[in-house]
């Protein structure tokens, strides 16, 4: 609301005034210059370069010919890419909804004036501090059928118990989801708990007077009030989904077979190992397009429209 215009409202914008203002702002402009260059060269330049390369026939070295959409039609006929795409949809849907549900439940239960709240919060959030590589290695160890969970349950007397998702082509992607949920639910909990703490205490008195059961208050009143926090959590989780790479590399390396390949890994493999730059950049461009389509409206509403300074 309060703008930082230092000039008086009715000041005529004479030439000397403008020049002086420009002079005092020069250090500010210079300070922003490196970032502006990085935005221009890296964020815009490299992005356009990648898009451009996806229309070429580059393999080991970049070429600047033009093959139209040939790489894209090759991409959508590529089993590995199609598996990657469907995997990221499965992972994204289960990971985001799972984190929201678990995070919401944890936040609500912690919010019941429980003892040792700090301890519970610490336990639920600590996985978020660890890297995906650590997360992947830990879960790979726990879920490996030979010595992990399966053996544990079998040794307890359930001889026929089977839990081989990690090495099962159809189920392996769900082990990645489990590890992801372990890593990310605490974050959702922290964000939603902050939201719960911001809710007016009178609401609970009013609900109590009206005799509304607690769970109903949570689902019908509190949840809608938490909307901004839910949106924030979803945005954060979504960026995590798009970046999904380290977890897969550490946990399954895309296997068994190509069962847990994801787009980010497809791009990396084609750029740096399989010497197929054009196909890799085409996949990267597909990722870019998807992200922009999903996030551009949100970023516009949230950051670009309310211009300038506001608390």
């Amino acid at each position: 609301m309060d703008t930082i215009s230092i000039r008086a409202p009715s000041m005529p914008s004479g030439g000397t005034k403008t020049r002086r203002r420009m002079k005092t702002r020069l250090p500010a402009a210079l300070a922003l210059l490196p970032t502006a260059l990085i935005v221009l060269v890296v964020y815009i330049g490299c992005m356009l370069w990648t898009v451009r390369l996806s229309f070429t026939s580059s393999t080991l070295l970049p070429k600047l010919d033009w093959v139209g959409f040939a790489q894209y039609s090759r991409l959508f006929a590529n089993d590995r890419f199609l598996t990657s795409a469907s995997n990221i949809v499965i992972f994204g849907a289960l990971f985001i909804s799972g984190c929201l549900i678990i995070g919401f439940l944890l936040a609500v239960f912690i919010d019941q004036n429980v003892r040792g709240e700090g301890l519970f919060r610490t336990i639920f959030l600590y996985p978020y501090a660890m890297s995906f590589v650590v997360t992947g290695v830990a879960w790979q160890w726990f879920l490996n059928p030979a010595l992990g969970l399966q053996k544990l349950v079998r040794d307890m007397g359930f001889e026929s118990f089977t839990f081989d998702w990690l090495v099962n082509q159809r189920m392996a992607i769900y082990t990645i989801v489990i590890a992801g949920l372990w890593h990310g639910s605490g974050l959702t909990m922290a964000i939603l708990l902050a939201g719960l703490r911001g809710i007016d205490k009178d609401l609970w008195k009013a609900a109590k007077i009206d005799g509304i059961p607690t769970w109903r208050v949570y689902t019908s009143v509190v949840l809608p009030l938490l909307r901004p926090m839910v949106v924030t959590a979803v945005v954060l989780l979504t960026t995590g989904v798009v970046k999904l790479y380290d977890l897969v590399v550490a946990m399954t390396l895309g296997g068994p077979g190509i069962a847990t390949e994801v787009p980010a890994k497809f791009v990396m493999d084609h750029l740096f190992e399989r010497n197929n730059i054009a196909l890799g950049t085409a996949a990267a461009t597909i990722m870019l397009t998807t992200v922009i389509a999903v996030l551009a409206p949100w970023v516009y509403v949230r950051y670009v429209r309310p211009q300038g300074r506001h608390a």
């Binding site: 930082i4 230092i6 702002r25 500010a28 922003l32 970032t35 502006a36 990085i38 964020y43 330049g45 490299c46 370069w49 990648t50 390369l53 239960f109 919010d111 019941q112 004036n113 429980v114 301890l119 519970f120 336990i123 639920f124 959030l125 600590y126 501090a129 660890m130 890297s131 590589v133 290695v137 830990a138 879960w139 160890w141 726990f142 010595l147 053996k151 040794d155 372990w182 922290a190 902050a194 205490k201 609970w204 008195k205 924030t232 954060l236 960026t239 380290d246 550490a250 740096f272 890799g280 996949a283 990722m287 992200v291 996030l295 970023v299 950051y303 670009v304 300038g308 300074r309 608390a311």
Partner: protein, 294 residues
């Protein structure tokens, strides 16, 4: 006691309900603790015990051998110098990256929230959008640029990359914090004749301690946990701990030494865990500042 004024969320009348609440929380806590528990106990067991025993059980014959081996002699491919190499590489990457990215973020945030520079908001918008774009979109051209300038696969290169990709979050963090400071402060400093840098160093920076702490927590954990940049830009000589850990664990020569793997994993997790436990609420505040307020 039961007739007290109704306050708070749920009155404590249903003990069964209370038990349910605690049962849920404790079960969840056990699930969250499980991987850490098995990592720790596995790292303290000899291999025979791991092959035969229960994955959850405490070690019968506790030994720190695996930790020592993981630190100083575990193999990544042909080299067997342990994960300590990666640890020191990560430290060498971490310190300049954290310092430089925070300086950059603070200056940007200050310039953006107090000085009206033409086009600054557009730049900021693009930068923020950039935060959501998958890194894969930038990597190949960046590699080419760095190869051309001759710094590819060096410490300078990986530090630069961390600074570049830390810009959106750091700028956002400081911009929002500074936007919350009273504008009168800045106006007064302007009237006193303060320029861009003198106001920054004398007025703004001394008030920035909380956000500097938050930024440090965010960057230390973020950069320490990075995998993809280290893998792509650091070069063989500077591979960070995460990459080395992955190489140790997923190197397929011989029988896998799970105890060494787990000790190495714990070592790699140590720095962010210490940051997390020491910083406590600040960590949450960091996430909140980077997310909710943004």
């Amino acid at each position: 006691m039961s007739t007290a004024v109704p306050q708070g969320r749920r009155p404590h009348r249903l003990t069964a309900g209370r038990i349910g609440v605690y049962a849920f929380l404790v079960t969840a806590a056990l699930f969250f603790m499980l991987p850490l528990w098995i990592m720790v106990v596995t790292s303290l067991k000899p291999m025979e015990e791991i092959r035969l025993g229960n994955i959850l059980a405490l070690p019968a014959a506790m030994t720190f051998e695996a930790w020592i081996k993981a630190w100083s002699s575990a193999c990544t491919g042909l080299e067997c110098n342990g994960i300590s190499v990666g640890f020191w590489n990560s430290v060498r990457i971490l310190i300049p990256s954290v310092i430089l990215s925070i300086i950059a973020g603070a200056i940007n945030g200050y310039a953006l929230s107090f000085w009206r520079v033409k086009g600054a908001n557009v730049m900021f918008g693009v930068l923020l959008l950039g935060a959501f774009i998958p890194y894969q979109v930038f990597l190949y051209p960046l590699v080419r640029i760095f190869s051309l300038t001759g710094i590819y696969n060096s410490l300078t290169c990986i530090v630069l990359v961390h600074v570049i990709f830390g810009l959106p979050t750091m700028t956002l963090l400081f911009r929002n914090y500074y936007a919350g400071l009273p504008i009168e402060l800045f106006k007064a400093a302007r009237i006193d004749g303060g320029g861009f840098w003198s106001i920054f160093f004398r007025v703004i920076l001394p008030m920035s301690t909380p956000i500097l702490v938050v930024a440090t927590i965010l960057q230390v954990t973020g950069i320490w946990n990075d995998f993809i940049f280290g893998l792509t830009f650091a070069g063989r000589e500077n591979l960070p701990m995460t990459v080395q850990l992955n190489n140790i664990v997923n190197s397929t020569q011989g029988e896998r030494a799970y105890n060494v793997d787990m000790a190495a994993t714990m070592l790699a997790a140590l720095v962010p865990l210490v940051v997390y436990f020491v910083s406590g609420r600040w960590f949450v505040r960091g996430i909140a500042a980077g997310a909710v307020k943004g």
